[in-house]
Symmetry: C2
Protein backbone atom coordinates (compact mmCIF):
# COMPACT_ATOMS: atom_id res chain seq x y z
CA UNK A 1 0.00 0.00 0.00
CA UNK A 2 1.02 3.62 -0.58
CA UNK A 3 0.09 6.58 1.61
CA UNK A 4 0.09 10.02 0.00
CA UNK A 5 0.93 12.60 2.64
CA UNK A 6 1.98 16.24 2.95
CA UNK A 7 4.79 16.90 5.42
CA UNK A 8 3.56 18.88 8.45
CA UNK A 9 -0.10 18.83 7.36
CA UNK A 10 -2.33 17.72 10.24
CA UNK A 11 -4.64 15.27 8.46
CA UNK A 12 -1.95 13.04 6.93
CA UNK A 13 -0.26 13.12 10.33
CA UNK A 14 -3.37 11.59 11.91
CA UNK A 15 -3.02 8.54 9.65
CA UNK A 16 0.76 8.38 10.16
CA UNK A 17 0.36 8.25 13.96
CA UNK A 18 -2.49 5.74 13.63
CA UNK A 19 -0.27 3.43 11.56
CA UNK A 20 2.56 3.53 14.12
CA UNK A 21 0.15 2.94 17.02
CA UNK A 22 -1.32 -0.06 15.19
CA UNK A 23 2.13 -1.48 14.50
CA UNK A 24 1.40 -1.67 10.78
CA UNK A 25 4.52 -1.76 8.62
CA UNK A 26 5.32 -1.79 4.91
CA UNK A 27 3.22 1.18 3.78
CA UNK A 28 5.23 3.42 1.46
CA UNK A 29 4.86 7.14 2.16
CA UNK A 30 4.72 9.43 -0.87
CA UNK A 31 4.96 13.18 -0.21
CA UNK A 32 2.73 15.59 -2.10
CA UNK A 33 3.95 19.22 -2.31
CA UNK A 34 0.91 21.32 -1.41
CA UNK A 35 2.65 24.67 -1.81
CA UNK A 36 3.55 23.68 -5.38
CA UNK A 37 -0.16 22.76 -5.80
CA UNK A 38 0.85 19.20 -6.70
CA UNK A 39 -2.43 18.00 -5.14
CA UNK A 40 -4.34 19.92 -7.83
CA UNK A 41 -2.69 18.15 -10.76
CA UNK A 42 -4.74 15.84 -12.94
CA UNK A 43 -2.61 12.88 -11.87
CA UNK A 44 -3.33 13.40 -8.19
CA UNK A 45 -7.00 14.24 -8.75
CA UNK A 46 -7.37 10.81 -10.34
CA UNK A 47 -6.72 9.48 -6.82
CA UNK A 48 -8.44 12.29 -4.90
CA UNK A 49 -11.06 14.17 -6.95
CA UNK A 50 -11.27 17.06 -4.48
CA UNK A 51 -7.48 17.32 -4.15
CA UNK A 52 -7.21 16.29 -0.50
CA UNK A 53 -4.47 14.45 1.33
CA UNK A 54 -4.07 11.86 2.74
CA UNK A 55 -4.94 9.10 0.27
CA UNK A 56 -4.23 5.41 0.84
CA UNK A 57 -3.69 3.45 -2.34
CA UNK A 58 -4.71 -0.14 -1.65
CA UNK A 59 -2.78 -3.11 -3.01
CA UNK A 60 -5.47 -3.57 -5.67
CA UNK A 61 -4.88 0.03 -6.79
CA UNK A 62 -8.08 1.56 -5.41
CA UNK A 63 -7.52 4.99 -3.85
CA UNK A 64 -9.16 5.45 -0.44
CA UNK A 65 -9.42 9.05 0.74
CA UNK A 66 -10.51 10.80 3.94
CA UNK A 67 -8.46 10.44 7.09
CA UNK A 68 -10.97 8.66 9.27
CA UNK A 69 -12.11 6.31 6.48
CA UNK A 70 -8.49 5.27 5.97
CA UNK A 71 -8.26 4.49 9.70
CA UNK A 72 -11.46 2.43 9.51
CA UNK A 73 -9.90 0.36 6.73
CA UNK A 74 -6.60 -0.11 8.57
CA UNK A 75 -8.38 -1.07 11.79
CA UNK A 76 -10.12 -3.77 9.78
CA UNK A 77 -6.84 -5.15 8.46
CA UNK A 78 -5.30 -5.27 11.96
CA UNK A 79 -7.90 -5.04 14.73
CA UNK A 80 -5.43 -4.90 17.64
CA UNK A 81 -4.35 -2.76 19.34
CA UNK A 82 -7.87 -1.45 19.04
CA UNK A 83 -8.24 2.30 18.49
CA UNK A 84 -11.82 2.70 17.22
CA UNK A 85 -13.97 0.42 19.39
CA UNK A 86 -14.52 -3.33 19.62
CA UNK A 87 -18.31 -3.42 19.20
CA UNK A 88 -20.88 -1.04 17.69
CA UNK A 89 -21.67 0.67 21.00
CA UNK A 90 -18.03 1.35 21.84
CA UNK A 91 -17.42 2.34 18.22
CA UNK A 92 -20.26 4.86 18.48
CA UNK A 93 -18.99 6.49 21.68
CA UNK A 94 -15.43 6.72 20.35
CA UNK A 95 -16.78 8.16 17.08
CA UNK A 96 -18.71 10.75 19.11
CA UNK A 97 -15.52 11.80 20.90
CA UNK A 98 -13.53 11.77 17.67
CA UNK A 99 -16.08 13.93 15.86
CA UNK A 100 -16.25 16.40 18.72
CA UNK A 101 -12.53 17.04 18.68
CA UNK A 102 -12.47 17.06 14.89
CA UNK A 103 -15.43 19.41 14.36
CA UNK A 104 -15.21 21.69 17.40
CA UNK A 105 -11.47 21.71 18.16
CA UNK A 106 -9.51 20.82 15.03
CA UNK A 107 -11.84 22.53 12.52
CA UNK A 108 -11.84 25.97 14.22
CA UNK A 109 -8.07 25.69 14.70
CA UNK A 110 -7.71 24.95 10.97
CA UNK A 111 -9.93 27.90 10.10
CA UNK A 112 -7.97 30.13 12.46
CA UNK A 113 -4.62 29.11 10.94
CA UNK A 114 -5.76 28.99 7.32
CA UNK A 115 -7.57 32.34 7.36
CA UNK A 116 -5.02 34.34 9.35
CA UNK A 117 -1.52 32.85 8.87
CA UNK A 118 0.45 34.38 5.95
CA UNK A 119 2.04 30.98 5.29
CA UNK A 120 -1.35 29.54 4.34
CA UNK A 121 -2.30 32.27 1.86
CA UNK A 122 -1.54 30.05 -1.13
CA UNK A 123 -3.77 27.23 0.12
CA UNK A 124 -6.62 29.34 1.57
CA UNK A 125 -7.46 31.86 -1.08
CA UNK A 126 -9.07 34.24 -0.29
CA UNK A 127 -8.35 34.46 3.43
CA UNK A 128 -11.01 36.05 5.67
CA UNK A 129 -9.02 37.36 8.63
CA UNK A 130 -11.91 38.51 10.80
CA UNK A 131 -13.65 35.17 10.34
CA UNK A 132 -10.42 33.35 11.22
CA UNK A 133 -10.01 35.41 14.37
CA UNK A 134 -13.59 34.71 15.44
CA UNK A 135 -12.94 30.98 15.03
CA UNK A 136 -10.15 31.22 17.62
CA UNK A 137 -12.73 32.71 19.99
CA UNK A 138 -15.36 30.02 19.26
CA UNK A 139 -12.66 27.43 19.87
CA UNK A 140 -12.44 28.46 23.53
CA UNK A 141 -15.85 26.97 24.40
CA UNK A 142 -14.71 23.59 23.12
CA UNK A 143 -11.41 23.87 24.98
CA UNK A 144 -13.19 24.66 28.26
CA UNK A 145 -15.24 21.50 27.77
CA UNK A 146 -12.21 19.42 26.79
CA UNK A 147 -10.07 20.68 29.66
CA UNK A 148 -12.89 19.85 32.05
CA UNK A 149 -13.26 16.35 30.61
CA UNK A 150 -9.53 15.71 30.89
CA UNK A 151 -9.62 16.74 34.57
CA UNK A 152 -11.38 13.46 35.33
CA UNK A 153 -10.29 11.08 32.56
CA UNK A 154 -6.90 10.31 31.04
CA UNK A 155 -7.92 10.20 27.38
CA UNK A 156 -10.33 12.03 25.09
CA UNK A 157 -12.82 9.16 24.79
CA UNK A 158 -12.42 7.87 28.35
CA UNK A 159 -9.95 5.53 30.00
CA UNK A 160 -7.89 4.37 27.05
CA UNK A 161 -5.98 5.83 24.10
CA UNK A 162 -8.07 5.94 20.91
CA UNK A 163 -8.27 7.59 17.52
CA UNK A 164 -9.87 10.61 19.25
CA UNK A 165 -6.56 11.33 21.01
CA UNK A 166 -4.78 11.31 17.67
CA UNK A 167 -7.28 13.72 16.12
CA UNK A 168 -7.17 16.11 19.08
CA UNK A 169 -3.37 15.97 19.27
CA UNK A 170 -2.88 16.79 15.58
CA UNK A 171 -5.36 19.66 15.90
CA UNK A 172 -3.75 21.14 19.02
CA UNK A 173 -0.26 20.78 17.55
CA UNK A 174 -1.36 22.57 14.37
CA UNK A 175 -2.26 25.56 16.59
CA UNK A 176 1.41 25.93 17.48
CA UNK A 177 1.64 27.87 14.19
CA UNK A 178 -0.40 30.48 16.09
CA UNK A 179 1.91 30.22 19.14
CA UNK A 180 -0.93 28.49 21.00
CA UNK A 181 -0.02 26.38 24.04
CA UNK A 182 -2.89 24.99 26.16
CA UNK A 183 -1.20 25.60 29.52
CA UNK A 184 -0.46 29.24 28.78
CA UNK A 185 -4.03 29.70 27.54
CA UNK A 186 -5.49 28.46 30.83
CA UNK A 187 -6.08 24.78 30.06
CA UNK A 188 -3.80 22.82 32.43
CA UNK A 189 -5.45 19.41 32.02
CA UNK A 190 -5.31 19.73 28.25
CA UNK A 191 -1.62 20.63 28.51
CA UNK A 192 -0.89 17.61 30.73
CA UNK A 193 -2.72 15.33 28.29
CA UNK A 194 -0.90 16.91 25.34
CA UNK A 195 2.45 16.30 27.03
CA UNK A 196 1.59 12.62 27.65
CA UNK A 197 0.64 12.14 24.00
CA UNK A 198 3.70 14.08 22.81
CA UNK A 199 5.90 11.62 24.73
CA UNK A 200 4.60 8.60 22.81
CA UNK A 201 6.91 7.09 20.17
CA UNK A 202 4.16 7.42 17.53
CA UNK A 203 4.13 11.22 17.72
CA UNK A 204 7.87 11.78 17.38
CA UNK A 205 7.81 12.21 13.61
CA UNK B 1 -34.70 5.63 23.60
CA UNK B 2 -35.25 9.35 23.12
CA UNK B 3 -33.99 11.45 20.23
CA UNK B 4 -33.53 15.16 20.80
CA UNK B 5 -34.10 16.98 17.52
CA UNK B 6 -34.70 20.48 16.19
CA UNK B 7 -37.43 20.78 13.58
CA UNK B 8 -36.02 21.64 10.14
CA UNK B 9 -32.36 21.46 11.27
CA UNK B 10 -30.34 19.31 8.84
CA UNK B 11 -28.34 17.19 11.30
CA UNK B 12 -31.26 15.84 13.34
CA UNK B 13 -32.99 15.18 10.03
CA UNK B 14 -30.13 12.89 8.99
CA UNK B 15 -30.82 10.67 12.00
CA UNK B 16 -34.59 10.84 11.50
CA UNK B 17 -34.28 9.61 7.91
CA UNK B 18 -31.76 6.95 8.96
CA UNK B 19 -34.22 5.61 11.55
CA UNK B 20 -37.06 5.33 9.02
CA UNK B 21 -34.78 3.66 6.45
CA UNK B 22 -33.67 1.13 9.07
CA UNK B 23 -37.26 0.42 10.06
CA UNK B 24 -36.49 1.17 13.70
CA UNK B 25 -39.57 2.09 15.75
CA UNK B 26 -40.30 3.20 19.31
CA UNK B 27 -37.81 6.08 19.59
CA UNK B 28 -39.49 9.11 21.16
CA UNK B 29 -38.66 12.43 19.45
CA UNK B 30 -38.19 15.44 21.71
CA UNK B 31 -37.99 18.85 20.02
CA UNK B 32 -35.43 21.39 21.20
CA UNK B 33 -36.18 25.03 20.37
CA UNK B 34 -32.92 26.42 18.97
CA UNK B 35 -34.22 29.95 18.38
CA UNK B 36 -35.18 30.12 22.08
CA UNK B 37 -31.61 28.88 22.80
CA UNK B 38 -33.03 25.87 24.64
CA UNK B 39 -29.95 23.91 23.54
CA UNK B 40 -27.77 26.23 25.61
CA UNK B 41 -29.57 25.56 28.88
CA UNK B 42 -27.77 23.72 31.66
CA UNK B 43 -30.29 20.87 31.43
CA UNK B 44 -29.56 20.26 27.76
CA UNK B 45 -25.82 20.74 28.14
CA UNK B 46 -25.85 17.87 30.62
CA UNK B 47 -26.72 15.70 27.61
CA UNK B 48 -24.71 17.62 25.01
CA UNK B 49 -21.84 19.66 26.49
CA UNK B 50 -21.31 21.68 23.32
CA UNK B 51 -25.03 22.32 22.87
CA UNK B 52 -25.49 20.37 19.65
CA UNK B 53 -28.50 18.45 18.36
CA UNK B 54 -29.23 15.63 17.73
CA UNK B 55 -28.66 13.58 20.88
CA UNK B 56 -29.85 10.00 21.35
CA UNK B 57 -30.55 9.09 24.95
CA UNK B 58 -30.02 5.35 25.31
CA UNK B 59 -32.27 3.15 27.42
CA UNK B 60 -29.62 3.13 30.14
CA UNK B 61 -29.73 6.93 30.20
CA UNK B 62 -26.39 7.59 28.50
CA UNK B 63 -26.54 10.50 26.03
CA UNK B 64 -24.92 9.79 22.66
CA UNK B 65 -24.22 12.84 20.54
CA UNK B 66 -23.01 13.47 17.00
CA UNK B 67 -25.13 12.51 14.03
CA UNK B 68 -22.90 9.89 12.49
CA UNK B 69 -22.02 8.28 15.83
CA UNK B 70 -25.73 7.88 16.56
CA UNK B 71 -26.12 6.14 13.19
CA UNK B 72 -23.19 3.82 14.00
CA UNK B 73 -24.96 2.82 17.23
CA UNK B 74 -28.32 2.28 15.53
CA UNK B 75 -26.73 0.25 12.72
CA UNK B 76 -25.30 -1.97 15.47
CA UNK B 77 -28.72 -2.52 17.06
CA UNK B 78 -30.31 -3.41 13.70
CA UNK B 79 -27.77 -4.31 11.02
CA UNK B 80 -30.24 -4.67 8.15
CA UNK B 81 -31.09 -2.97 5.90
CA UNK B 82 -27.40 -2.08 5.89
CA UNK B 83 -26.57 1.60 5.37
CA UNK B 84 -22.94 1.89 6.53
CA UNK B 85 -21.12 -1.15 5.12
CA UNK B 86 -21.07 -4.86 5.97
CA UNK B 87 -17.30 -5.31 6.46
CA UNK B 88 -14.43 -2.95 7.30
CA UNK B 89 -13.49 -2.35 3.65
CA UNK B 90 -17.03 -1.48 2.59
CA UNK B 91 -17.45 0.55 5.78
CA UNK B 92 -14.33 2.53 4.88
CA UNK B 93 -15.44 3.35 1.32
CA UNK B 94 -18.92 4.38 2.47
CA UNK B 95 -17.35 6.49 5.23
CA UNK B 96 -15.14 8.15 2.58
CA UNK B 97 -18.21 9.05 0.52
CA UNK B 98 -20.13 10.18 3.59
CA UNK B 99 -17.30 12.41 4.78
CA UNK B 100 -16.86 13.96 1.33
CA UNK B 101 -20.48 15.03 1.12
CA UNK B 102 -20.48 16.11 4.77
CA UNK B 103 -17.23 18.13 4.68
CA UNK B 104 -17.21 19.47 1.10
CA UNK B 105 -20.93 19.76 0.30
CA UNK B 106 -22.94 20.03 3.51
CA UNK B 107 -20.38 22.08 5.49
CA UNK B 108 -19.96 24.87 2.90
CA UNK B 109 -23.75 24.94 2.44
CA UNK B 110 -24.13 25.32 6.23
CA UNK B 111 -21.53 28.10 6.28
CA UNK B 112 -23.23 29.80 3.35
CA UNK B 113 -26.67 29.67 5.04
CA UNK B 114 -25.48 30.44 8.56
CA UNK B 115 -23.27 33.37 7.62
CA UNK B 116 -25.58 35.06 5.10
CA UNK B 117 -29.23 34.22 5.91
CA UNK B 118 -30.94 36.73 8.24
CA UNK B 119 -32.95 33.89 9.81
CA UNK B 120 -29.74 32.36 11.17
CA UNK B 121 -28.41 35.53 12.81
CA UNK B 122 -29.38 34.35 16.29
CA UNK B 123 -27.54 31.04 15.91
CA UNK B 124 -24.49 32.26 13.99
CA UNK B 125 -23.29 35.32 15.86
CA UNK B 126 -21.40 37.15 14.47
CA UNK B 127 -22.16 36.40 10.82
CA UNK B 128 -19.38 36.96 8.27
CA UNK B 129 -21.23 37.62 5.03
CA UNK B 130 -18.27 37.74 2.67
CA UNK B 131 -16.94 34.47 4.07
CA UNK B 132 -20.39 32.91 3.68
CA UNK B 133 -20.60 34.05 0.08
CA UNK B 134 -17.14 32.62 -0.69
CA UNK B 135 -18.26 29.27 0.73
CA UNK B 136 -21.04 29.12 -1.86
CA UNK B 137 -18.34 29.55 -4.51
CA UNK B 138 -16.05 26.86 -3.02
CA UNK B 139 -19.08 24.57 -2.93
CA UNK B 140 -19.22 24.56 -6.73
CA UNK B 141 -16.04 22.46 -7.09
CA UNK B 142 -17.58 19.74 -4.92
CA UNK B 143 -20.85 19.90 -6.85
CA UNK B 144 -19.04 19.53 -10.18
CA UNK B 145 -17.39 16.39 -8.79
CA UNK B 146 -20.64 15.06 -7.32
CA UNK B 147 -22.66 15.74 -10.47
CA UNK B 148 -20.00 13.91 -12.48
CA UNK B 149 -20.05 10.94 -10.10
CA UNK B 150 -23.85 10.73 -10.28
CA UNK B 151 -23.69 10.66 -14.08
CA UNK B 152 -22.35 7.11 -13.87
CA UNK B 153 -23.70 5.76 -10.56
CA UNK B 154 -27.14 5.88 -8.95
CA UNK B 155 -26.06 6.68 -5.39
CA UNK B 156 -23.40 8.76 -3.65
CA UNK B 157 -21.29 5.79 -2.53
CA UNK B 158 -21.90 3.63 -5.59
CA UNK B 159 -24.67 1.24 -6.56
CA UNK B 160 -26.82 1.21 -3.45
CA UNK B 161 -28.48 3.66 -1.06
CA UNK B 162 -26.32 4.40 2.02
CA UNK B 163 -25.87 6.90 4.81
CA UNK B 164 -23.93 9.09 2.35
CA UNK B 165 -27.15 9.70 0.39
CA UNK B 166 -28.89 10.83 3.56
CA UNK B 167 -26.06 13.25 4.42
CA UNK B 168 -25.92 14.71 0.92
CA UNK B 169 -29.71 14.99 0.69
CA UNK B 170 -30.03 16.88 4.00
CA UNK B 171 -27.23 19.20 2.95
CA UNK B 172 -28.69 19.95 -0.50
CA UNK B 173 -32.16 20.45 0.95
CA UNK B 174 -30.79 22.90 3.52
CA UNK B 175 -29.56 25.00 0.57
CA UNK B 176 -33.18 25.57 -0.45
CA UNK B 177 -33.10 28.37 2.13
CA UNK B 178 -30.78 30.08 -0.38
CA UNK B 179 -33.17 29.25 -3.28
CA UNK B 180 -30.60 26.72 -4.52
CA UNK B 181 -31.81 24.00 -6.87
CA UNK B 182 -29.19 21.72 -8.44
CA UNK B 183 -30.84 21.55 -11.88
CA UNK B 184 -31.12 25.33 -12.21
CA UNK B 185 -27.48 25.67 -11.09
CA UNK B 186 -26.23 23.38 -13.86
CA UNK B 187 -26.11 20.00 -12.08
CA UNK B 188 -28.66 17.80 -13.84
CA UNK B 189 -27.45 14.45 -12.46
CA UNK B 190 -27.48 15.82 -8.93
CA UNK B 191 -31.02 17.08 -9.50
CA UNK B 192 -32.17 13.67 -10.80
CA UNK B 193 -30.59 11.94 -7.80
CA UNK B 194 -32.15 14.50 -5.42
CA UNK B 195 -35.58 13.88 -6.94
CA UNK B 196 -35.21 10.10 -6.52
CA UNK B 197 -34.26 10.53 -2.85
CA UNK B 198 -37.02 13.09 -2.29
CA UNK B 199 -39.55 10.50 -3.49
CA UNK B 200 -38.61 7.99 -0.79
CA UNK B 201 -41.03 7.58 2.13
CA UNK B 202 -38.21 8.29 4.63
CA UNK B 203 -37.71 11.84 3.37
CA UNK B 204 -41.36 12.93 3.49
CA UNK B 205 -41.19 14.41 6.98
Amino acid sequence: MKLYIAPRAPNPRRVQIFIVEKGITGIEEIPVNLNALEHKTEAFRAKSPLARVPVLELDDGRPLGETRAICTYLEGTKPEPNLMGRDPTERAFIEMADRRVELYVMAPISNWVRHTHPGLAVLENPQFGEFGKSQSEKLQEALVWLDGALATQDYIAGDRFTIADITAFCGIEFARLMKFKPGEAGYPHLQAWRDRIAAKPSTQT
